[in-house]
């Protein structure tokens, strides 16, 4: 079901949480609202749910104006960061709750409720826990029950507020994949909020990057990662090296070095610039392959699993460069601390905007 947000504004005292934000979400999509803490994404989610009221603006669910409706009437499912399971009710009673509080005419029979709950719990693989209490479950298990509970009343939209942030790293990964699979099965329009860009990149059909109450960019994970609209988005998604310099006459300074400026900035007058390079878009070799290569020495080696992180001090640059190389390369080239290497910078993005790191 399509969601349309028009010119939403929300202020808390002096603090502007959401600044004239508009957004369209297609039916059936799994959307991530991604941004740093305090950027307004949770507030936006709660406004959509009806748990907060926007100061101005409209919220349309399936073309119906639901701006001022209470949560009850919006038919949204909400999954809280800390699960918010009813601690005095069993798993069964938790999931059945939404069905039991339906007005008399709409309420299903007891056997229908039982069937539906059983079906949902099976879907989330928690059917064995019918009579357990939340306190007897692990975090990941509780979150799955919370999901089943939200789905029980056939919501038109599923809203998830940082659903995995309270969980261990491994559980988080498992649940991420599991949520994607679940979504592919049931196709409910879903919006989840996260500050973890890995999570957003992995899970979402579309990412909406939010900062200071405004949308910085929206697009598929590919678009947002490969073609970031501005420095903020670039920096937020993935690791990055930043070089402050100046752009002048079609050339960008990188410390003592000069690089060709990207096409769209070739004719820009002189101004300060920030050059971004991704650690894994840096080539490392033992021999010079190119005039433009930088010479440097490995200062630190970090074993990060499949990739190895290198901290390299380069001639002519004030700050060291962070590079990432596959493990085989590291082994084959016999790289180690203190080794001299040549650094090829393959792709840069240059921004001359206001956002400074």
């Amino acid at each position: 079901m399509g969601i349309e947000l028009q010119n939403i504004n929300k202020q808390f005292g002096e603090y502007k949480a959401i600044d004239n934000l508009s957004l369209n979400i297609a039916s059936g999509e799994l959307i991530a609202l991604l941004g740093p803490s305090g950027c307004g994404k949770t507030t936006l989610l709660r406004i959509i749910a009806g748990l907060e009221l926007a100061d101005s603006g409209k919220i349309l669910l399936e073309n119906k104006d639901t701006t001022n409706l209470p949560p009850r009437k919006k038919n949204v499912g909400f999954v809280f960061q800390h699960y918010a399971l009813f601690r005095r009710l069993t798993v069964f009673e938790n999931v059945a709750f939404g069905l039991k509080v339906l007005p008399f005419r709409e309420r299903p029979s007891r056997s229908e409720i039982r069937d539906r709950v059983a079906h949902l719990l099976k879907l989330v693989q928690m059917d064995w826990a019918l009579t357990r209490y939340p306190s007897q479950l692990s975090g990941g298990q509780r979150q799955r029950v919370a999901l089943a509970r939200a789905l029980a009343v056939n919501p038109r939209v599923l809203l998830l507020d940082e659903p995995f942030s309270a969980l261990d790293a491994k559980v988080r990964q498992e649940l991420r994949r599991w949520l994607r699979k679940l979504h592919d099965e049931i196709h409910v329009t879903s919006i989840f909020v996260t500050h973890d860009q890995e999570e957003a990149l992995e899970l979402a059909d579309k990412i909406v990057v939010i900062n200071k109450g405004r949308i910085e960019q929206q697009g598929t994970p590919q678009e947002v990662y490969d073609h970031p609209a501005n420095a903020f988005v670039y920096n937020f998604l993935g690791n990055v090296n930043v070089f402050h310099g100046r752009i002048h006459n079609g050339k960008v300074s990188l410390g003592a070095h000069q690089l060709d400026a990207p096409d769209d900035l070739k004719n820009v007058e002189e101004k300060p610039s920030q050059t971004f390079v991704r650690p894994h878009e840096i080539g490392i070799s033992r021999i010079r392959s190119n005039d433009k290569d930088l010479e440097g020495t490995i200062r630190e080696v970090r074993l990060q699993g499949g990739q190895i992180g290198l901290n390299i001090e380069c001639q002519g640059l004030d700050n060291p460069i962070e590079a990432e190389v596959p493990r085989e390369l590291f082994v084959n080239l016999q790289l180690a601390k203190g080794v001299q290497v040549f650094v090829t910078i393959n792709r840069v993005r240059v921004f001359t905007g206001d956002y400074e790191i």
């Binding site: 749910a49 748990l51 209470p70 009813f86 601690r87 939404g98 509080v101």
Partner: protein, 304 residues
Amino acid sequence: MQCRSGNRKNIVHKLMPQPEISQSHPPVVKKRISDPLSVQVLLVGLTYLFFIGFIFLPLGLVFSQAFGKGWSVYLEAIREPYAIEAVKLTLLTVAIVVPVNAVFGVAAAWAITKFNFPGKSTLKSLLDLPFAVSPVIAGLIFVLLVGSRTPFGSWLGEHGIKIIFSTPGIIIATIFVTFPFIARELIPLMESQGRDEEEAALTLGAKGWQIFWTVTLPNIRWGLLYGTILCGARSIGEFGAVSVVSGHIRGQTNTVPLHVEILYSEYNFTASFAVASLLVFLALLTVVVKSTMEKHFQKNSFHH
């Protein structure tokens, strides 16, 4: 960290950082530095001395005086009609005061913990008021409000309603003195439980009363019970405030504590202590219940 006292040279070595105990393992039981045995014996002894002087002796006295002249005299004192009337009046007071204050406590706790509004802290401080006010003043204010010599009071008197020197006055004064107990028990409890569950219920379609009955009430039931017990115990034992508003009329406006006072002032010590022993039993029961509940729920917060 272990440290051999007297061997200073090792200290530097011992104070070097130790590997951190991983959170997932149960805590290593460390031997706490303890005071020398002689000090322990002395301090425990002094404590017992204090308790003997201030707690055990008075308790013992009550029972020795109450039962001093034998069972029959004791029972006679308790079954005496005026004593029974006093018990009835006290029970009536409790039966009204506790539910009324419970409703208030729940309402106040709901308003304070589930919402944000200006003036919240002023409201919370108002809840501390009876603890700062002498019980005599607590009684005084109602005499000043609805006593027979006041405009309001005489108006009520013309309509046949007598508050001061009559049962309603006792009830109202007791309400004043005990109204914070349940609220003060519920507020920290509900604050620590947060609003998430209620919000979740809201998104699932529940309405106001449904949310309260099915989500909030089960979560606060032990706090409610605990607060009710404290409120009840205090209602039974209130003396100063009730003393002011009661007419001290035996058989009509005497609560059990007032009856104890009357008997004592007539030098009828045995009877006085006999009736008092009922209150002592109740106090001991309250103390035991309080202690059990606190251990059970590991709350060691004394709400004054």
